[in-house]
């Protein structure tokens, strides 16, 4: 194959061997015949010396770029970074590694991006392992691949994923570290930080042909995080062309990323398990506390109602205190349980359309007696007179009751509490303002902290669990809302929350339901495309949203047609969904175009925040909205059935 480049103003044609590494000839003359430098460059002796000097100074630097045509019909771009060596007599000899094939480099660059996306988007260890077995063997052109992982103690190795590897070989690769599982670890573990027990692997060398006569070359990459060897990837080739050095280098580069991704996945899994354990511990605890509490409550109630005979005033008083405290315990228990359920992600909203004004009035009514007792002047103001919202009515009741209950608790006799509720097109704001004792700045900062009571400084005699506000916050956020507190000591406290009337997910579900009905009648398919930008950043500006609309229009337009009317935009959170008809014959091209256009955006946005895009085809990939959503999120590597919450960690 041939290529040409310009060097110090001259055009030079180079002939390379099939691998593109060795230079066979320059400007039509074969090197093996001992071509003179002058003949090649057509320079005088002094010019030659000058050029030689420049070249030596430039050695290691990029000198030129040339395009060569390969026998397979593709063109390669080759960067000449280091000039061929030239002997004193002006003889040029080809030198290994003097030419860098950028096409291959670029291919690798792309592959590395792909790997980074494939493994970076997932926290599922098994999926990452399967993915790397496929990706690494494809990238290196290796015929077999095994991902071998050590267990948590770092002693036993298991083949977790393999391609074209027989049972016997798998057995050889698995086992106890001291019995030489590392015999296959041809790579010398140089990291001095590695725990001493892995040093045993240093002396062991691979026996490539043992049991596998057809293997011509192999390479093992260790997966190291800090001082731990998590496992290794073992690749081998049957073809005579060995695994090249560049592939080995690149494998070593990505091994560190893979190891860290696997480490993160393991840590995440452990953490999930812990949360699950905590949750089930709390639920067991709460269950075993409920029965004795019920027994106490029943007994106290019996006595208080005089079922055991008449009571003296003192008896009545203290039994009353007992009863109240049992109720308090129950409240703490319920809050704890709810919090752990939210943490574990098992709290589900049962949304229906309700009138928030009616709800607020009914809650206020239930506090009537309590407020009357304290002589609290309660007022409620709403605008407009009816505010419909799509919420979980029981949980919404819990939220308002929690805030109002607190306000009553901390407000002295004969003071005022005001509840304001106002609704706009999209959201509802509720404020509950009291003239209570107020909160100091330090109490305010940890008001929403879980498992921390901020009772210091609060007037004696006022009982709180320290959990109520933390729970209220979680419940508001579960509705896609936000909550905040303004407070001044001895002046009062204002707790406000805002929730969207109709959350993005519900609008999406509703639109999708209608589109599915229509598609069914027409006998068509649908594509649901979802783009979530900047998962962890601040809420977007309207300019940003309109830019996002434009960009999506230009990217999806070519395959989906004009999508202006089919976009569902969540202006608060920078989420956009597009529902469009998808005919069976153009589905492949839709997928291709989406992939092409969005991969780049994603790689870019991943760096700053966390974005995702995905799509799903109806009815092939799901017949109901939850199924479709699940498939859509799975395609993006998100393992859950709900849209990821915004601006939050988990």
């Amino acid at each position: 194959m041939y290529g040409s480049f310009r060097c110090t103003g001259k055009d030079i044609v180079v002939e390379l061997d099939r691998s593109g590494k060795d230079i066979l000839g320059i400007n039509g003359s074969a090197l093996s015949k001992g071509v003179r430098f002058r003949e090649v460059f057509g320079l005088s002796a002094s010019e030659r010396r000058k050029m030689l000097k420049t070249m030596r100074e430039d050695s290691g630097r990029f000198l030129g770029e040339m395009t060569i045509s390969r026998p397979d019909g593709n063109n390669s771009v080759v960067l000449i970074s280091e000039i061929l060596s030239i002997d004193e007599g002006g003889r040029i000899s080809g030198s290994e590694g003097s030419l860098v094939d950028v096409t291959l480099e670029r291919k690798w660059e792309k592959e590395l991006f792909n790997i980074a996306r494939n493994i970076g988007g997932s926290l599922d260890e098994g999926k990452i392992i399967d993915r790397i077995a496929i990706d690494l063997s494809r990238m290196t052109g290796c015929h077999t691949c095994a991902v071998v992982m050590f267990d948590e103690d770092g002693i036993k190795a298991h083949v977790r994923s393999s391609r074209k590897i027989g049972k016997n070989y798998i057995k050889q690769l698995s086992g106890d570290i001291s019995n030489g599982v590392g015999i296959y670890l041809e790579y010398t573990l140089e990291s001095s930080d590695l725990k001493p027990e892995y040093k045993i692997l240093n002396d062991m060398k691979m026996a490539p042909t043992k049991g596998r006569k057809n293997i011509r070359s192999c390479h093992t990459v260790p997966l190291i995080v800090g001082a731990d060897l998590m496992g290794f990837v073992h690749l081998s080739k049957f073809s005579p062309a060995p695994i090249c050095e560049r592939d080995k280098d690149n494998l070593n580069i990505c091994s560190s990323h893979i190891a860290h991704a696997l480490y993160n996945a393991r840590t995440f899994e452990k953490q999930e398990k812990l949360i699950q354990m905590k949750s089930s511990f709390l639920s067991n605890l709460s269950h075993s506390l409920r029965t004795p509490m019920a027994t106490m409550k029943q007994s106290v109630s019996l006595l208080l109602r005089g079922r055991g005979g008449p009571l003296t005033e003192v008896q009545q008083k203290f039994l009353g205190i007992m009863g109240e405290n049992i109720n308090r315990l129950t409240g703490v228990l319920n809050n704890l349980l709810d919090l752990s359920k939210i943490e574990y992600g098992s709290m589900e909203l049962n949304r229906t359309e309700i009138d928030m004004v009616l709800l607020a009035r009914s809650i206020a009514e239930s506090f009537d007696a309590l407020m009357m007792n304290k002589g609290i002047n309660f007022s409620i103001s709403v605008k407009p007179s009816s505010i419909k919202a799509f919420v979980d009515s029981e949980i919404m009741r819990q939220i308002i009751e929690g805030i109002l209950g607190n306000a009553i608790k901390f407000t002295a006799k004969k003071k005022a509490i005001r509840l304001n509720m106002s609704g706009s097109d999209k959201r509802i704001i509720v404020d509950i303002e009291d003239e209570g004792c107020g909160m100091s700045r330090s109490n305010l900062t940890m008001a929403f902290d879980k498992y921390r009571s901020f009772q210091k400084g609060i007037k004696a005699g006022v009982k709180g669990t320290g959990l109520g506000l933390a729970l209220t916050k979680e419940l508001v956020e579960l509705h896609g809302g936000k909550i905040w507190i303004e407070s001044k000591v001895r002046v009062g406290t204002k707790v406000s929350f805002v929730i969207p009337k109709m959350p993005f997910a519900s609008i999406l579900q509703e639109k999708m339901r209608r589109s599915m009905e229509l598609a069914q009648i027409k006998g068509e398919g649908l594509i649901l495309f979802l783009y979530i930008a900047n998962l962890e950043g601040p809420p977007p500006t309207s300019k940003k949203i309109s830019k996002l609309r434009e960009r999506l229009g230009s990217y999806l337009g070519p395959v989906l047609g004009n999508i202006d009317g089919q976009m569902i935009v969540d202006e608060d959170e920078e989420r956009v969904a597009v529902i469009a008809p998808a005919k069976p014959k153009n589905r492949d091209s839709i997928e291709r175009v989406i992939k092409q256009n969005f991969d780049e955006i994603l790689t870019r946005t991943r760096i700053s925040g966390n974005s995702l895009y995905s799509w799903v085809i109806y009815p092939e990939e799901g017949k109901t909205f939850p199924d479709l959503l699940k498939a859509l999120l799975a395609r993006a590597g998100v393992n859950r059935g709900e849209l990821p919450p915004q601006h939050r960690g988990r």
Binding site: T291, A294, K297, Q298
Partner: protein, 135 residues
């Protein structure tokens, strides 16, 4: 305690916790009901079939047979299907309640409960049952 039959209603309390069982029975008896009790699911099912109670107060986590099962078995049987069942349980999640109602319970109350509300619920379910029978 003397078993009075002023209003002629017979109730069955199935709970494995003896103290709670006793306290509930005491309260119900003083309200004028005849109260029977059982300490596990099997015994509860047997008594519900034999003694023909007017209402059942049923715990869920019971030895030998759980409350869901007892409830389902009573509700599929023509002779016992009309007995109102109040589930009185420490299982407090929405999912538990859904399962309870699906197994055929008429009412679901979580522990710790308000004893006065239990009495009210017993009364209202008995009245409802009476109306059904009259119709």
């Amino acid at each position: 305690m003397e078993k009075s039959k002023q209003n002629g209603k017979r109730l069955l309390v199935v709970d494995d916790e003896p103290d709670l069982r006793e306290a509930i029975m005491f309260d119900l008896q003083l309200s004028g009901y005849e109260v029977l009790s059982a300490k596990d699911g099997m015994e509860g099912l047997k008594m519900a079939r034999e003694k023909d109670p007017d209402l059942l107060i049923l715990d869920l986590l019971l030895p030998r047979m759980d409350g869901y099962r007892v409830c389902r078995m009573l509700k599929v049987d023509k002779t016992t299907e009309s007995i109102p069942i109040i589930m009185l349980t420490a299982k407090a999640t929405r999912e538990d309640e859904r399962l309870g109602m699906e197994s055929g319970a008429d009412m679901y109350m979580t522990k710790p409960f308000d004893p006065e509300i239990l009495l009210e619920n017993v009364e209202s379910l008995l009245k409802k049952g009476e109306r059904k029978r009259k119709n």
